[in-house]
């Protein structure tokens, strides 16, 4: 099995190989450096004309990517840290996501912006955030989060080569060294239909799930551990639901899991208030009515601290997920 980083790197290479329209741009992408997280390593050597190292200009390069996309190219822009995405916020909000609709569908913006998000590396308040919550629900922008259950390279290739709308691809930085794929061990996996499939993960041969734990990105890794702990120590059998497309919200895939369990626990690494979990719970409540019981696990409403113990206290951990699940199932 490959790591997520290798999957993304191979996905980028496949995109650049398959179409001359694909361009990759971002800060410090070029070899021998190969990007701050090395996702683009080797690509500038193989495709020197189509991999562009850029100045430190997040708004400028996302805007340039939009212009390229409007004129027939299929650009990929890397933002070195997700924390810097706000610098390009206007470009995503007022340009990338608007042009198709406000032109009365005369133009398309097939742009992919990829960026690492998330904490647990001690980088502190401005290099550890999960800011995707601020981009969710933006009409005209698709937000997709990679995970270890679905091929990151396939998601990327679809976004770059097939998707004619702008895509924000969120890559939790702790996922990069993880192996992706389910190896036929203790879990069994099913995927929803569609190009950005949601995963449903269960412990093999376990009884029917009485709880859905929904998590995306790296939170799915923690939730996986919680799934095992709940089963082996508390005999609570849960199903893990891991969407890749966060926005627009794909309700049917959610209902396939939650309408069976009527119990929903959401886990997200950004702060609790007015966030992803709140929207998911509201959607399921509206669909399922009073039968639904739900809880949310999220970060504290604080900046992400640098010191290890502080960071651990602020961000969700496996124990917190298990505790919330137990409370929900009481």
């Amino acid at each position: 099995m490959n790591t997520v980083l290798e999957g993304l790197n191979e996905g980028l290479r496949a995109c650049l190989r398959s179409s001359e329209q694909v361009y990759l741009l971002g800060e410090d992408l070029l070899d021998p450096y190969g990007g701050a997280f090395k996702v683009t390593r080797g690509l500038s050597t193989e495709f020197p004309a189509r991999v562009l190292g850029t100045p430190v200009s997040e708004a400028g390069i996302v805007g340039a990517g939009i212009g390229m996309a409007l004129r027939g190219l299929r650009p990929i822009v890397e933002i070195m840290f997700g924390d810097f995405l706000m610098l390009a916020g206007d470009q995503l909000l007022n340009h990338a996501s608007k042009f198709r609709w406000m032109s009365n569908d005369q133009v398309r913006v097939p742009l992919v912006v990829r960026t690492p998000m998330g904490g647990r590396r001690g980088y502190g308040p401005t290099h550890s955030q999960s800011l995707e919550k601020h981009f969710l629900g933006m009409p005209g922008l698709r937000t997709v989060a990679i995970n270890t259950l679905t091929s990151p390279g396939d998601l990327l290739q679809h976004a770059v080569l097939e998707d004619d709308d702008p895509v924000l691809l969120v890559e939790h930085k702790l996922l990069y060294p993880q192996k992706w794929g389910v190896d036929g061990g203790e879990f069994e996996l099913s995927l929803s239909e569609g190009s950005y499939p949601a995963s449903r993960l269960r412990i093999r041969s376990a009884p029917q799930a009485s709880l859905t734990i929904a998590a995306y990105g790296y939170m799915a890794e923690l939730a996986k551990q919680a799934l095992l702990e709940l089963a082996y120590e508390h005999e609570i059998f849960a199903e893990l639901f891991v969407p890749t497309q966060l926005s627009p919200f794909l309700e049917q895939a959610w209902l396939a899991s939650v309408s069976g369990t009527k119990r929903l626990l959401t886990v997200e690494e950004s702060g609790l208030d007015l966030g992803w979990g709140a929207e998911c719970v509201a959607r399921m409540q509206e669909a399922l009515g009073a039968d639904l019981r739900a809880r949310r696990v999220a970060a504290m409403q604080l900046p992400v601290p640098a010191a290890g113990e502080l960071e651990q206290a602020v961000l969700p951990q496996v124990e917190g997920i298990v505790a919330a699940a137990l409370s929900l199932m009481q």
Partner: protein
Amino acid sequence: MGPPTNGELYRQMQRIRRFEETVLDRFPLGEFYGTTHTYIGQEADAVGVLSWLEVGDIVVSNHRCHGHFLAYGGSMHALAAELMGRSTGVSGGRGGSQHIQWRDFYANGILGGTIPLAVGMAFAEKQAGSGRVVIAFMGDGTLGEGVVYESLNLAALWEVPVLFVLENNLYAQSTSIQHNLAGSIEGRFAAFGIQVRAAQTTDVLQILDLGQESIAAVRMSAKPAALILETYRFSPHSKGDDVRDPHEIARYREQDPLDIHAARLKAGERAQIETEVEREIQAAFEQAGQDPPAQPASLGTPMDIES
């Protein structure tokens, strides 16, 4: 391509002038949605520069886009219909006055936000070897936006065929340039190694010459250039929000680009053009007013929900 005739230049400027005056005249009647940013006084800029467009050249415009759009060859009727929220509008009523998209013309009301787009478009055209150039309009107020400087840097680094046309009308909405701008406009472009041409004139013939030279240079070199046009808008920033000294406006009106150029026409030709433009204006607004309003049924979706 030969230069346009004096009559043609006058007609284009008159079309813009009368369109904008008609919009301002009729705004109180409740015929239009939102607001408008008129181009009265600046007509020679758009007409002089865009006279040299070749098929497929790209225009990137801003909130004050009506003049650019009409000079580009856009339909007066479709623009009027867009302001009136009709289904026949340029953007089907979705965009309104500041968000105009037609062929290779792109306008967005976010100041400066369009400038990196123009650079990316020019990059794409250069890669495609199309020989097309991008003309990106901005005003002096836009020089306050940081993304402009990111974009100038990228344009110069990447050597892409974009002409930045800076229309300095001396005001950012209500604030005069003395309160908004330190240093020089020319110096801002020069700092990035971008070749600058500048005109202290509202004479369309002079702007025409500079426009030709600038566009030819960009097309030939496939590198960026800038054209700074000192101008003035006679009308308010939008409508009814003018706090400028009326004497100042009157002084600039003495340099009205239409008057300067009209003096070159025979009285009969001028009268004929004006009559024809009036007829065109009347037909455009009349037709737009009779067109069906944009319907909620055509709201559509901002994207494919699933790809």
